[in-house]
Symmetry: C2
Subunit: 253 residues, 2 copies
């Protein structure tokens, strides 16, 4: 069986903690990594604080195979992620010629001036390799096992296209869902636990929903063995039927 | 000036890390706490792992004034938050009579049976006080400075109604936004940094957006002094005008 490869995500920005901005990047990164065979084991949402970012990145980079950061690499004073990641690894950081050349080429095509503020976006730690930004030009970077990306969701999606080929994935965790409309998870909790005990190589979860006039539970099973998942889905279907509900197997995952 | 009161949030559940579920509770909690005068300083998204949850809760409870957790207090085997929080504080945990009575009363009104699985939801650590759940009955709890809530968004909103009166808030951080349609943040980065240096008691941020045929930046200033914020908003309006754009001051925040 191939090895498990784990990742952590650091979502950086005061706006995520104040409630101003709803993060969507964690889900994007998770969905990008899953088919590569990398599971996100932890995520942190961090304020624009140099010490906290540096300390969290250092900690996460030691604990997990890969770390992905979003946010804080733009042209304004509150964009401090690049410096904090450099500090996490004790690397010098300054405006780097390769990154400056990318910005110069990009802005030469337009009427946009390469201001000192924009030159902040060419600050790249020594030894880092650049990550292409097909949306707005300013690159991200990879330093050791840490991938530093922008915060704007469309740029994150663009940058991930230059990240995948650098990753060494492991076992791909597959996920299957059996939807039980009207199912109350308290009715199947024991049986689900028994199923989990019987199939310890898989991971079973139950996710209820409550809406006006509509409730139920999604029973989800995850694991690397497709045959075992088929057996588990069959067992979940029986479980839902045994409680008088009509199971729907989600065909997409 | 009143003191700063900080909080951390732990969002618990494999489904948040796999990309299956988009968290919305962080934003709900942030918006609930802001008018009370409590700022979220950090958030973590944690997998359903007893040791990791216990360790993170212990760490966060020592570091911040309050900790709020969501997820993992339902009736199935993967609901392990209550036990992990008890472990974080070294408290015994078992089915408690007060919580059991709430469940019994709730289920007596319906045809739902109080199964052993549902009785898991009456597992409450010694010394914790219950948090009312107006949606589905099963209570959350407060242990020391940690508030343990469900993961289902509508239940989180319900439980927060029984949390507010227990919190001692501090300085209320106000936020104002000046929207600059067409504004490129690289053009105003230096001036914004100068403004930040001139008004160190406030916190300035710049949040660009990029959509097809539409781009711009929201300039946000946060702080506790309403007069200082008015001055800052006036300065931001001038800054946007000086770059040939039409500033819109968001009246709602």
């Amino acid at each position: 069986m191939s090895k498990t490869v784990s990742a952590a995500v650091a979502l950086i920005g005061d706006e995520l903690l104040s409630g101003r901005t709803q993060d969507v990047n964690l889900k994007t990164i998770a969905e990008f990594l899953a088919p590569v065979g990398i599971q996100i084991a932890e995520a942190r949402v961090l304020s624009d604080d140099h010490e906290r970012i540096a300390s969290a990145v250092r900690d996460l980079a030691r604990t997990y195979d890969y770390v992905f950061t979003t946010g804080g690499i733009g042209p304004t004073h509150d964009d401090i992620t690049a410096d904090a990641v450099a500090a996490a690894f004790g690397r010098p950081i300054d405006i780097r010629d390769d990154a400056r050349a990318i910005l110069e080429a990009r802005y030469a095509e337009t009427d946009v001036e390469l201001t000192p503020a924009r030159l902040r976006m060419a600050r790249i730690p020594d030894g880092a390799s650049l990550i292409d930004n097909p949306v707005s030009g300013a690159p991200g970077f990879q330093l050791e096992n840490v991938f530093v990306m922008a915060g704007v969701p469309v740029i994150v999606k663009g940058m991930l296209q230059d990240v995948g080929h650098r990753l060494e994935g492991g076992a791909i965790v597959l996920s299957r869902t059996v939807r039980g409309k009207g199912l109350r998870e308290g009715d199947i909790g024991e049986a689900l636990g028994t199923l989990q005990d019987a199939m310890p190589e898989l991971s079973f979860g139950s996710y209820p929903w409550f809406r006006a006039g509509d409730n139920g539970a999604n029973l989800v099973v995850r694991g690397v063995d497709a045959n075992a998942l088929d057996d588990a889905v069959a067992a979940l279907v029986e479980l839902v039927k045994a409680h008088g509900r009509n199971p729907e197997v989600d065909p997409t995952n």
